[in-house]
């Protein structure tokens, strides 16, 4: 066998001195046979041929042999190099043709741009708007959103009864609701599905949505809390009490609580232990050694209480309390307290039923919702799901209301690029471009189009202050900054779609809720004097600060305008800077910012979804803001019944408790039944109003900027599509939640009058 060395050309003269390529010795040893390689001359490293020796070899030989001969014939035919290139091209094109062959469907009856690819089609796990659109088409809950009014309309439940005390809802299921495999949808399906939603192993981020149901929170979280208390928090608390036998300062105490997620785990087990509650909320002064020891000692019993509650919840939830199914046709929901928005939640995808036969099958644990596996119960079947390409839905012929479904087929295109989306719509290849999915620079031109629609949205855009970092830990500074920003300029010059400047957190338009009178408005004089009071007259001595936003052109414009206004109005130096989304989230969670952009989409039409996030150490608080009286008000609103039993601790916090007392009197005066429920709901809203007032009149942990207006483009022949909801009494309201059920939308292709 020839060796590497044999092959290597020597440097001398560029001619290979080892001419024999291989040799063999005859068996008798008398003859050695050298086999010569074909005559070949090697170059030195360069392409220049100074010695003229490379001339022969530089000639590309047709057969790879020394052949100067063929080249000397003046052959007019194609050379092998050109032939090779053309062959390669032909082979490539053939391959393209072969791989690019696919069945092409006729266009669907209704086609729309669905923003992004779905993360999942498991209704219990999904979190986004595009997912919810498809889930509402493929599954159906107890109720569904009426397209015209968003009131709960009969879904799987044909009817329901709310008990006089507002704490029990009994759903009567229709006999003709079927899964796509032909099995009837029965009450036990909902019991199973809601238990699945609450199962911590599923990891649903929307499990909390049914926490108003009795035992739901205990079932979902108490075991996890108890484990956390026992295994990590208890030993660390003991160590803390040991290391700080003489007490510690409140900020370090709070850092300990936050680092170990103590509040999450411990607060459900506190009950009426007011001392411990106050200890957990202590932000100033010191914590004594005795208190620390008491805290450490309280953890074990608290964990035991949680375990007991969890066991109790397991024994009852789905059996005879919380939710349960007395028979196939009846599904009963017990609520902890009257929850006026609960019938909105039963139209919302986390409460949809899922097919037990699939989700419990270990082979389909993770992929049960793919088209080849799925069993569903909604107006459409999932026919095809090509990732990043399209989703094809087909009318479900087993659906009880199929006569109300006009489309035989629907295509959803996951197109993130806004220019492409708009072009598809303009070319007539899609019928609907949902909210805000066009290039925002074109808003002025698009607004002129007759097929452009817009309506207010249940979304607030705001800036968070880091209330743990000087100077933003001073509420006068936070108020000053709030008063120094002209939101009208942002709305008129940057956003240009008629957005509403925000002076509160909760967007307007929620039925029954009247936002508090807010002190937030442009008042540069007052802002300057507040800043001076806080020790920064004329902005002197105010440290350079930053407004953090996630990388996005619109956020950038707003941040720059705000920074500029603060600079001009208060004389302080604020810079806008950006981070990519994941880094941005981590920075916000770690409170490593001065001011950070945020926005919040309401999950359901109720102030609670905007207000309960600001409680002490709330998972989405991200400001470090903590107010004991705020926490008490939110707790009171969540369970008005308990509040009425012991109202004084809450009322004592209020500057003017008059309106709340009035609302309480009305509850007391109301007769049992609907009147009392209404009075309770009004009291609840009043409590929310007092809570929000703390945010916008007293503490200012955030700077509200504007409330969203959502704009989109829709084919004028679209039917069953309501940017403005239309009620029976002739009134209208904006489609705040931007819900457009695919069940009811269709395109009138008969060329009828425009919508």
């Amino acid at each position: 066998m020839q060796t590497k060395k044999c092959e290597r050309p020597t440097k001398k003269n560029g001619v290979d001195s080892r001419i024999a390529a291989s040799w063999g010795v005859a068996p008798d040893g008398e003859r050695i046979t050298f086999r010569f390689r074909p005559q070949r001359v090697f170059y030195e490293g360069t392409t220049r041929d100074r010695h003229g020796l490379g001339l022969l070899a530089a000639e590309p030989s047709p057969e790879g042999e020394g052949g100067y001969s063929r080249a000397s014939r003046d052959d007019p035919g194609m050379d092998r190099t050109l032939l090779g290139i053309l062959t390669a091209f032909a082979v490539a094109l053939l391959t393209v043709g072969l791989t690019f062959s696919r069945t092409v469907d006729a266009p669907a009856d209704f086609r729309f741009v669905n923003e992004t690819e779905l993360q999942t089609l498991d209704p219990h796990v999904m979190t986004g708007h595009p997912e919810a659109r498809i889930a509402e088409a493929v599954f159906e809950g107890l109720t569904r959103y009426d397209a015209k009014t968003h009131h709960p309309a009969p879904g799987v439940a044909a009817s329901w009864v709310v008990a006089p005390d507002g704490k029990r809802i009994t759903f009567h299921l229709r006999p003709n609701a079927y899964w796509t495999n032909g099995r009837r949808v029965i009450a036990a399906d909902f019991v199973y599905s809601w238990k699945r939603l609450l199962d911590p192993a599923l990891g649903s981020e929307y499990a909390y949505i049914i926490f108003p149901v009795r035992y739901a929170e205990a079932l979902s979280t108490y075991d996890g809390h108890a484990t956390a208390l026992r295994t990590t928090i208890a030993p660390r608390a003991l160590a803390l009490a040991h290391d700080h036998a003489n007490g510690m300062d409140a900020p370090s105490w709070q850092r300990f609580l936050a680092a170990n997620d103590v509040n999450d785990a411990l607060s459900p087990a506190l009950g009426n232990d007011a001392d411990l509650r106050d200890l957990l909320a202590r932000r100033a002064g010191t914590v004594t050694g005795a208190e620390l020891r008491r805290f450490a000692a309280a953890i074990g019993p608290a964990a035991d209480r949680l375990r007991k509650s969890a066991a109790e919840a397991r024994a009852h939830f789905g059996v005879d309390a919380g939710v349960f199914a007395p028979d196939d046709d009846t599904f009963v929901v017990d609520l902890k307290a009257p929850t006026p928005y609960f019938l909105d939640i039963t139209s919302f995808n986390p409460t949809f039923p899922v097919p037990k036969e699939l989700t419990e099958d270990p082979r389909h644990h993770d992929d049960w919702f793919l088209p080849e596996n799925i069993i569903s119960n909604g107006p459409y079947r999932l026919k095809r799901w090509l990732v990043n390409d399209h989703i094809r839905l087909e009318r479900n012929e087993l659906y009880w209301g199929k006569s109300e479904v006009h489309n035989r087929t629907v295509d959803a295109f996951p197109i993130e690029n806004e220019t492409t989306s708009l072009n598809l719509y303009l070319a007539g290849e899609v019928d609907w471009l949902p909210a805000q999915h066009y290039p925002s620079d074109l808003v002025d031109e698009l607004r002129q189009r007759p097929d452009f629609y817009r309506h207010a949205g249940l979304i607030v855009y705001f800036y968070r202050f880091n209330t743990t970092r000087p100077p933003f830990n001073d509420k006068r500074v936070r108020e000053a900054l709030n008063l120094a920003v002209d939101r009208q300029v942002i709305v008129d010059d940057v956003l240009r779609l008629g957005q509403i400047p925000a002076s509160t957190i909760v967007p307007p338009g929620l039925a029954g809720y009247e936002p508090p009178v807010s002190s937030i408005h442009l008042d540069v004089q007052k802002a300057r004097s507040l800043l001076a009071e806080a020790g920064f007259p004329g902005g002197k001595g105010f440290p350079d600060s930053g407004i953090l936003y996630n990388t996005n052109e619109a956020h950038k414009k707003i941040a720059e305008v705000v920074a500029d206004q603060l600079n001009r109005n208060l004389g302080i130096k604020v810079n806008a800077y950006n981070q990519e989304w994941q880094s941005f989230l981590a920075t916000c969670r770690n409170l490593d910012f001065d001011i950070a952009r945020g926005s919040w989409v309401g999950d359901y039409p109720d102030p609670n979804t905007f207000l309960d996030m600001w409680v002490t150490n709330g998972g989405n608080n991200d400001t470090g803001f903590s107010s004991a009286s705020y926490d008490r008000l939110i707790r009171a609103a969540a369970d008005v019944g308990s509040f009425l039993d012991a109202p004084e601790s809450v009322l004592a916090d209020l500057d003017d408790a008059g309106p709340v007392r009035e609302a309480m009197v009305r509850v007391a005066q109301a007769s049992n039944g609907p009147d009392r429920l209404r009075a309770l709901a009004a009291l609840r809203m009043r409590l929310f109003r007092e809570a929000e007032s703390i945010l916008v009149n007293d503490e200012f942990p955030v700077m509200p900027i504007y409330f969203y207006v959502l704009g989109g483009l829709a084919n004028p022949n679209l039917r069953g599509f309501y940017p403005m909801l239309q009620f029976e009494d002739g009134t209208t309201a904006p489609n705040l939640q931007d819900i457009h059920p695919l069940r009811d939308i269709w395109v009138d292709r008969s060329g009828g009058a425009p919508r």
């Binding site: 050109l82 393209v96 599923l202």
Partner: protein, 396 residues
């Protein structure tokens, strides 16, 4: 190597190890340095060892790929067949590449994992915070522990024992190979077509320019090439979309459901490459036309056509061929911009989305795919070189 060389090399290696340890942590840094040493050592494998190692590694890859597609038994058969064929007939150079590829992939996975975990965020981070319980449940379910090293262990175990690239997290219910499998043919066909357009256009323009340097046609085609390189594809693509789809209505705006859909993305994808190839072909042609053998060919009285096509062409396209290797790997793994602009369901988006979403398994899957393609196309380039350039042929 002389003494001074050894000292320089040694201190460079020490600096490398220390640098890696500082950047990645001591354990990780040492592991990476060890991996680098291992990979470099494949260059010194003797021919027989290279044959054996290459055949074994190649068989392992063949087994993994076939098992994922067809099952275990066909996997074993294909692996055995491959090992036999490879050992018997494949050139050492090819086997050496394979022997190099496998440890490189392991090191690639390791380093990528460490770097991914260095980036802030996680696949489960959302604007609405998940509670610690929920996050722990999700981490357990998708095999994404909090430490990079344990993720690497889980990933390698999945890859070697179960033969899967792991579950995608942001597109649930599918494994990474199930995501990439339908996307790869899309990117391949789009990329191949673009490559053909780029090569044809680039060679024509470039050689024409190179044959008459500083003429009008030279300046014109090089001007075009400069524009092609500097104009970003989202501008060219959007302009084409407006003209051919919206104004003229000849082609569909976007999507991927018929032959008409491939035209605009392929042309958009091809143009910058065509421009680059044109410049390479031009310089290659100018260089080769000054060679003595061309003069000789002229002296023999050959026609200009024969001189250019037969004698100049092979030399002129050499720089283009060496560019085409990495370019083909790049073009066939898709382009994020073009795929989102024309709504093409190709592989390119996953490179970007995987990273943005911190979808670790997707990031690794695309990295492995890209590495495999780069290796493959570089091998093809080597073979093409041997075919075109007699100086290289003997070394194969």
């Amino acid at each position: 190597m002389n003494r001074r060389g050894r000292i320089v090399l040694g201190s460079l290696l020490v600096a490398l190890v220390v640098g890696l340890a500082l950047a990645l942590g001591v354990r990780e840094g040492l592991a990476v340095a060890f991996g680098l040493a291992l990979i470099s050592s494949t260059a010194w494998l003797g021919p027989t060892t290279a044959r054996i190692v290459g055949a074994v590694f190649g068989a392992a890859i063949a087994f993994g790929v076939t098992r994922a597609a067809e099952g275990a038994l066909p996997g074993v058969l294909v692996a055995v067949a491959f090992a036999f064929v490879a050992f018997k007939w494949l050139p050492v150079r090819v086997l050496r590449r394979i022997a190099f590829l496998v440890p490189s992939l392991v090191l690639l996975i390791f380093t990528t994992t460490i770097l991914m975990y260095r980036a802030p965020g996680s696949p489960f981070a959302q604007e609405k915070a998940a509670t610690p319980d929920v996050e722990a449940a999700l981490r357990a379910r998708y095999g994404v522990p909090k430490s990079a090293i344990s993720f690497f262990e889980i990933y390698m175990r999945r890859l070697v024992v179960e033969g899967t690239l792991g579950p995608a997290i942001k597109v649930r219910g599918r494994t990474v190979e199930q995501l990439l499998a339908p996307a790869l043919p899309v990117s391949l066909s789009l990329g191949l077509l673009a490559l053909v357009i780029a090569a044809a256009l680039g060679l024509l323009l470039g050689m024409r320019a190179g044959l008459k340097p500083n003429s009008f046609s030279d300046h014109a085609s090089m001007g075009l090439a400069t524009i092609g390189i500097s104009l970003p594809s989202f501008v060219i693509g959007a302009a084409m979309m407006i003209v051919f789809a919206l104004k003229l209505g000849w082609l569909p705006v976007a999507g991927w459901s018929g032959y008409r859909h491939i035209v605009m993305p392929a042309v958009t994808l091809a143009l910058p490459y065509a421009a680059y190839i044109a410049r390479l072909a031009r310089s290659g042609t100018i260089e080769v036309m000054q060679q003595d053998f061309i003069r000789t060919a002229r002296a023999k009285g050959l026609s200009e056509r024969v001189i250019v096509l037969r004698h100049a062409l092979p030399g002129a396209i050499l720089p283009v061929v060496s560019f085409l290797g990495p370019a083909a790997a790049g073009i066939m793994t898709g382009s994020f911009v073009i795929e989102t602009l024309f709504d093409v369901p190709g592989v390119g988006q996953w490179f970007v989305k995987g990273a943005i979403n911190r979808d670790y398994s997707v990031v690794l899957g695309t990295a492995i795919l890209y590495a495999a393609l780069v290796t493959f196309f570089n091998l093809l380039v080597d073979l093409a070189y041997a075919w075109l350039d007699p100086r290289v042929r003997g070394q194969l």
